[in-house]
Symmetry: C2
Subunit: 503 residues, 2 copies
């Protein structure tokens, strides 16, 4: 491990393997809840996860370990990796010192229990079933903010825990900078009837077995290595990275919109690749993770910039013909151009994860505005469906016919994740910063995707410039190092203008 | 929790939830290795499990906890449950005090790594690939025996760790008492040509999808509750009990012998039921497990006494006709009697888990004799294939054509389990002790299985007399309490004589 030379850092990393091990088995236990666990197992699982969480906290707060971290903070001449270790652990230490053990146990128990309740409420399209436990979770989030402390806004410490250093004010400014340009693009695109109708054209029923085959081929085209990867089915697609040699994604099958299993598979593969291409020297260290925005920049890269592109989609048109008789007719008539329009249709929709490259960000803006006020205590849980629906009307001009297509659609709140959503939008904007830089070095995306070794080259570029660093740097730290600038919405706005308006 | 009244015991149980939680996630992690984990994940998993093991040891050996156990040992007027807690924890304490942390970590790491190596060697029919790591594992087992200490034989402490109080001498005596009677029954049965030929008659290829349907129906007939149960596919069938509401079995599909997926499913279901019917008051306490022999008595009960019985098999003859054209012809001609003969054919075979009710015990005897000498240092790992084959010749008159059908067939050694096998044979003999007692109370097994609520009644009897106690009592303690005698081979020998010789 030549990256870690400093003696104190080495001692820290040795001890850290205990903490990593608890995280590893806890992540597996959470993955299992969503993929395999029999329903009745949730109570015991919640208790186990709660204990694992407080055990991790206790081990973290061992005076000898704290001493090491404090000592390391005073060390001079640490290299970037060593500084990263100190930064990440200092951050965790602060959090663990502020959050009481009982609080963390309670949060783990309640959020584990909440998952099943959310699933049922969503299935039954009944927000009332979810409301009571959501109330508890919101109360916990508000308590968490109090424990962590804040100056400007109680939402600040929550946002910060998903993206180091990010504040409510910065998120507001970010949305201010993209809101109007996106609105303009959205309005221009909506005038294009051809694109707007595409979704309806393909509204048919797809064979699930054929969708599975298609996803299998998708992963093969992305050159997946199955010795360190697996994919399963879950209600809400997600990725779990259990180590630099074990990443797992899930997807779901929607029989009326096959791109809604194709795109999530590509998206989650992007996350998985991020973990798998981390530098092996960082395995089982505090640096083997990553901030949420950088994470999302990787999933969006694969989903939007690769899987929605024409040359990549062209690899699948024959396979897609097998999905249903109607799509066969459609592809025979319209060819890959039709498929491309279908995958890039810009219509307002109810579901965030089904959002297109433009409307997606309004879904996030809506959640950001709601969360901010919920945490500030200005919105009550009971009011959520109404507020949700009125904001949908405002931003996208549509109102969900039921809560499963509205306020119940996301898993995040059931897990106690408040402050997470903004990173989805920011990460998406960052993906185009990487892409622009990569294309400077490797040639255009289209050329890459039209060549035999393009996927390999792209994966290597992402590995060398993003993945290998884990969370050695902060979001803006890494952007500055690789791209030469902090989060900048312009490359994405240019790309959207080019892709959706000029053509 | 009215079962636990004593203040010290209550304190113990509260602290124990930490230990239970580590066991819970570790069990899940081991289950995952065999069902889901991408191969390349094994190294990190091994490290995590090693750390979890030593963390559990460390928490167990906390002076305050040891004090509580010691104090509880001096308490008077403890009820059976409280005494059980003290007994089980005292046992673990002794083991943890004697085994160094570094030893347990090394064992966890090596055995995790070994699983993949064993699978590969078995696939390639190449013992040489497994031998080097098996040598290390044997060496660790020998060290473990030294650490734990023994008077008569180094195998003693290993046997004892799977069945409390059991010694090498007792196992030898047990085998002495069953060897000749079984041999006699075996010889008598072999003269019955009809039974001996049955296996060959059904040597055809089965449709995997239909086998899966059959297993699904099997579990339904056993009245499985899927809210707390799941079944998966694995190389070696096994059960993992993650709590009193989460038990998971695996099975495998063998396209030339469908009873080899039917019977393991029944077997593992018996284990799962054992865990699921434990008294909820014992959840997350040291009493929620059970000794290995009592465990095996439950799996064998379902496998042999129910699933191999004529009235139970009769429920499936129509479904079995779908398995292949040949078996359809066979069942049309021979009916349920033919199916019954097939499921109870007594032929020598290479594979332990495919053994019938008679030859099975010779498979175990062979392993016991080998393990005993391996641990004593009288056999070298390199010699295993040869010794294995010569013992097969001696006991069953056949020699495996390759090591995958011989010395490589079992997963146990790769997991470091030496001393486990004898409990399989003993547990099988115990199953008939339960059955005899149950039939005294509920009527004959045939009558029960011919009635609509028979399965429900049998499950309830097992729940009330065996399962609910967890490991409150030792093997012989529970037998004496319920049946009124210690391990007694006679009921099983009578049953075998009646079933295989008299008919």
């Amino acid at each position: 491990m030549e990256k870690f030379q400093n003696k104190i850092i080495k001692e820290i990393l040795e001890y850290y393997e205990n903490l990593w091990s608890i995280s590893h088995v806890s992540s597996l236990a959470r993955w299992d809840i969503r993929t395999n666990m029999p329903k009745a197992g949730s109570k015991a699982r919640g208790k186990a996860l709660a204990k694992m969480g407080s055990l991790r906290q206790k081990l973290f707060l061992k005076p000898e370990f704290i001493d090491l971290i404090k000592k390391a903070e005073d060390e001079k001449e640490l290299n970037d990796y060593e500084q990263g270790v100190v930064r990440v652990l200092g951050k965790s230490l602060e959090k663990y010192e502020k959050l009481p053990k009982e609080f963390l146990e309670k949060k783990a128990e309640i959020t584990t229990e909440a998952h099943g309740i959310w699933e049922k409420a969503r299935e039954d399209q009944d927000f009332k079933k979810f409301a009571p436990i959501l109330k508890e979770i919101v109360e916990l989030a508000r308590q968490e903010a109090d424990y962590l402390g804040y100056e400007a806004h109680p939402y600040d410490p929550l946002v910060d825990s998903f993206e180091e250093g990010l504040t409510t004010k910065q998120v507001s400014e970010y949305f201010e900078s993209i809101k109007n340009p996106l609105k303009e693009i959205f309005e221009k695109v909506q005038k294009n009837e051809n694109i707007a109708q595409e979704h309806v054209l393909l509204d048919t029923h797809y064979f699930e077995e054929e969708m599975k085959k298609l996803n299998k081929k998708l992963l093969e085209e992305l050159e997946v290595d199955r010795t360190q990867f697996r994919d399963d089915i879950a209600v809400h697609p997600f990725t779990t990275t259990l180590g630099i040699n074990d990443a797992r994604i899930t997807t779901r099958y929607n029989d009326t919109d096959f791109k809604m299993s194709f795109l999530p598979t590509a998206h989650e593969f992007g996350h998985a690749l991020h973990g798998l291409q981390c530098d092996p020297d960082l395995a089982r260290t505090p640096l083997s993770g990553h901030g949420m925005s950088i994470g999302e920049s990787q999933s969006r890269f694969i989903e939007n910039l690769i899987a929605r592109s024409k040359p990549f989609l062209a690899r699948f048109t024959d396979d897609m013909k097998e999905l249903s008789p109607e799509i066969k007719d459609f592809i025979n008539k319209e060819g890959v151009d039709g498929v491309y329009r279908y995958f890039n249709a810009v219509q307002p929709g109810f579901i965030r994860v089904e959002g297109n490259e433009i409307t997606y960000h309004f879904h996030i803006l809506l959640r950001f505005e709601i969360e901010k006020e919920l945490i500030a205590g200005n919105i009550k849980v009971e009011e959520l469906p109404e507020i949700w629906n009125s904001k949908m009307k405002e931003y996208l001009g549509i109102v969900p016919p039921n809560d499963s297509l509205g306020v119940l659609q996301d898993v995040h709140w059931s897990e106690g994740y408040f402050g997470y959503f903004p990173t989805y939008s920011m990460g998406t904007f960052i993906s185009q910063m990487w892409s622009a830089k990569m294309q400077e070095e490797l040639g255009t995306m289209d050329d890459l995707l039209n060549s035999d070794d393009g996927i390999r080259k792209i994966k290597k570029w992402l590995g060398d410039n993003v993945h290998k660093y884990g969370c050695t740097y902060t979001m803006n730290g890494l952007l500055e190092k690789i791209v030469g600038s902090r989060l900048d919405p312009q490359p994405m706005l240019d790309y959207l203008e080019e892709k959706y308006v000029k053509v």
